[in-house]
Symmetry: C2
Subunit: 348 residues, 2 copies
DNA sequence: ACGCTTTCCGGAAACGTTTTAGTATGGCAG
DNA sequence: CTGCCATACTAAAACGTTTCCGGAAAGCGT
C-alpha cells in the first residue's frame, strides 16, 4: 500500500463504505466495536490521516487556534521570549482537546487589521488570541462581527465587553510607588513609551493614583516619554538629569530602557541603587543581567498561557461546558523580584 | 449585503457564472477585462475572500509556509527573539508571492516527529522550514518521503542531501580561538551544551581544529559539558576553577551561560577581562548587558530570514524559476562584536 | 456566404471529507 | 404472524472552490 489517496482507499481496502470508516475514526456511536477496531488498525498501518481541507470544508471547523503576534522591530526587542513562553502553557491545555496552536505573525509592513481579516476569511482557525491590543482596536470589531471566539491579550475599549486578559499594571505601579515612598522618596519619575500602546496610559494613570494616595501631587514633568528601547532609556536618563528639581527615583516601563539609563547615569557618575533608586517592569530576559541588578517584576509565562487557553475555551461553545468561567476579564498579577537598583533610601 | 455565503452569492449578485467569477479573481487570461473589473469591485465591496478550505481542497495547495519551532524551556530561554526576528525577513520575501507564514510550535511534551507528521498529513502547508535539527533527524526523512519542499535550519546527516542553512560555527570558533591565541592564550577552555544538539559537536570540533592549526594540542579536560543555561554557566565556572592547570580563557557556546559564569567568577574574586578572557557566542539579547560587556558574535536575524525564504522558494517547483539558487547548503556568517570581557592578554 | 480562429462565458465535474437519510437484519412483544 | 425498535451499515448529498470542456458570438480572410 504505497499511496494513501484518502478515505476512499482505506474503505476499499477494508471493504466497507466510506461513511462507516469516517464514523469509526471520529468515534461516532453507531458503529460496531469490532469494525471500529479494524478501521483504526488499518488507518494506523497505512498511515492515514484525514485531509484537513476536506474535513473543514464539510464541517466548517479546523481544530486550530490562532495566536496573532507582531514581528515589528519593537516587538522583537521587547517581547523576546514572551510568546514562546506563553505557547507552552497554551498548548498544555489545548492539546487536551486535540486542538493545535498556530502562530500567525503579522508582517510588519502590513496593517494588522487587514492581515487578521485575511486570516479570518481563510477560515483556517476556529478561534483567535490577539495580542498587543490598542486602546481602540479594529481587530476586535472584526472578530466580533465575524463571530469568531477570541481572547485579547491586553484590555481595550473596542467592541463592547469582549473577553480579555491583561497584566496588572495598576498593581505593579502601586507596588513600585509604595516601595519607593516607603524608602522616603517623594519625587519619583517614570519613563513611559511615547507611542500609542495602551500600556503606557494605564501605567501612568496608576502611577499617578498611587502617588496621590500617598498625598504626593502628580508632577507631569516627571513623566518622561521616550521610545521603548535602549536609546529611549538613555534619553530618559538625559531628560532626568536636565530637570531643575531632580527626582530621587525612577520607574521604567520597559526593562530594555534600563541599559540605556544605566549608561547615561554612568556618564554622569551616578550609581543606580546608591544615588538614584531604579525599578523596572518585567524581569525577563535582561533585568537581572544588569549590574547592579534591577529591581523589577516577574511572572510565569507558562501560567499566563494556561489562563489564556482556559479563558478562550470558555468562549467557545463547543468547549465551554468544561470551562464555566465567570469572569470574562482577568488581571494577571506579577510578583516583585527585588534587586539592588532601588537600594537608595532617603529614610534615616 | 450582510452575509457573504460564498462565490455563489457573488456570482448571483453580478449575474454571471461562478466559473467566470473564479477566473476573474484568480487573474486567468480568458476573461474580459471589463468583467474582471466588475468582479473585483464587487468582491471588494462585499468583502468576499475565497474560503481556503474549498480552495485548497480543489487545487491541493494552501499558499502557506510553515515554520516549525519548539517551545521547550531551553528553547525559550536561549532562542529568545530569534524566531520573531527571523520571521520579519521571511515574510518580506514570502509576501511578495502572496504566501503566508505560519509558525507551528511543537508542544514540548510531544515528539517533534509525531507533531510534524500530523501537521503534514493535515496538508495545511505547502512547504516547511524546520529548526533545531538534530544530527539524525527523522523529520527530514518524513518530509522527503511526503515530497514536501523544505529547508532545515541546522545541518543534518539525515535524508540524503537536503537543503539546509546553518550558522557558521566553524568560523565563529576559529575567530574566537584566533583572537585568543593572538593575545597569547594557550589554554583555552570551552563550555559546550551537554545535550545532543548538533551545534555542540560542530562547535567543539571546529574549536579543536582551530587549536591544532595553531599547534596547540587539544585537551579534552578543557571541554566543559554543562547545561545551556545560567546554572550551566555557573557550573562551568565551578569546573573551571577546579582544574589543576587553569585555563586563561574560555569560550561560551550560549551567551546565557555568561551570567552564571560571571557570578561564579565573582565569588572567586576573578574579574572577566582582567583575570580571564571570556568570549561568548550570540550577542542578542543579553550579551551586551553584562558588566564587563561580553565579546561575542552578531548577525542580522532579518537577513537570515530573507536567505531562508529565498532558499525555500528555490526548492518549490512553482516558484523555483525566480530563485535559481545553485547552492543548496548555506553557511551563515556572524560578525565579531568586540566587548571588554576578552581584554585580558598574555602578550607583552 | 463560408469556414476559421479568437474571445469570452456557462455548465458541470472534481477535490476528500462528514453527515443525513434510508435500508437490511434480527430480536422481541403483542 | 405482524408490528416495532435497535443496531450497523450503505448510498448519496453537501461543503466552496477551481478547472476542464464545450459553445456562442464576433472578427477576419477568402
Amino acid at each position: 500500500m504505497p499511496q494513501m489517496k484518502g478515505i476512499r482507499q482505506l474503505a476499499k481496502h477494508l471493504d466497507i463504505s466510506i461513511g462507516t470508516v469516517s464514523r469509526a475514526l471520529n468515534g461516532r456511536p453507531d458503529v460496531n466495536e469490532e469494525t471500529r477496531k479494524r478501521v483504526l488498525a488499518a488507518a494506523e498501518e497505512l498511515g492515514y490521516v484525514a485531509n484537513q481541507s476536506g474535513r473543514s470544508l464539510r464541517q466548517g471547523t479546523t481544530n486550530v487556534i490562532g495566536l496573532m503576534i507582531e514581528s515589528s522591530k519593537e516587538t522583537v526587542e521587547n517581547s523576546d521570549n514572551f510568546f514562546l513562553g506563553v505557547t507552552g502553557g497554551l498548548q498544555s491545555v489545548l492539546s487536551r482537546h486535540k486542538l493545535d496552536l498556530l502562530m500567525l505573525p503579522c508582517p510588519n509592513d502590513e496593517d494588522p487589521h487587514e492581515y487578521l481579516k485575511r486570516m479570518v476569511a481563510r477560515r483556517i482557525v476556529d478561534a483567535m488570541i490577539i495580542s498587543a491590543t490598542q486602546r481602540v482596536d479594529k481587530r476586535i470589531d472584526l472578530l466580533v462581527k465575524a463571530k469568531i471566539p477570541f481572547v485579547a491579550l491586553g484590555r481595550s475599549t473596542s467592541g463592547g465587553n469582549h473577553t480579555w486578559i491583561d497584566l496588572d499594571f495598576e498593581g505593579v505601579a502601586a507596588c513600585a510607588v509604595d516601595r519607593l515612598v516607603s524608602k522616603g522618596h517623594r519625587r519619583i519619575a517614570i519613563a513611559a513609551p511615547s507611542n500609542d500602546i495602551n500600556l503606557g496610559y494605564i501605567f501612568v494613570d496608576a502611577y499617578r493614583q498611587s502617588l496621590e494616595r500617598h498625598g504626593i501631587t502628580y508632577d507631569p514633568s516627571l513623566v518622561i516619554r521616550v521610545k521603548s528601547s535602549e536609546q529611549g532609556g538613555y534619553q530618559a536618563g538625559h531628560e532626568l538629569l536636565r530637570l531643575d528639581s531632580k527626582p530621587t527615583a525612577i520607574i521604567l516601563i520597559y526593562e530594555l530602557m534600563a541599559i540605556g539609563l544605566y549608561r547615561r547615569l554612568n556618564e554622569a557618575g551616578i550609581v543606580p541603587g546608591r544615588d538614584l533608586a531604579v525599578i523596572g517592569f518585567r524581569e525577563e530576559p535582561r533585568g537581572k543581567f544588569l549590574q547592579p541588578s534591577l529591581t523589577c517584576f516577574r511572572m510565569s509565562l507558562r501560567d499566563l498561557g494556561v489562563e489564556l487557553a482556559e479563558t478562550l475555551l470558555a468562549t467557545m461553545p463547543a468547549y465551554a461546558e468544561h470551562y464555566p468561567k465567570g469572569a470574562r476579564n482577568t488581571i494577571w498579577p506579577l510578583e516583585l523580584a527585588p534587586g539592588e537598583s532601588d537600594a537608595f533610601s532617603l529614610s534615616t
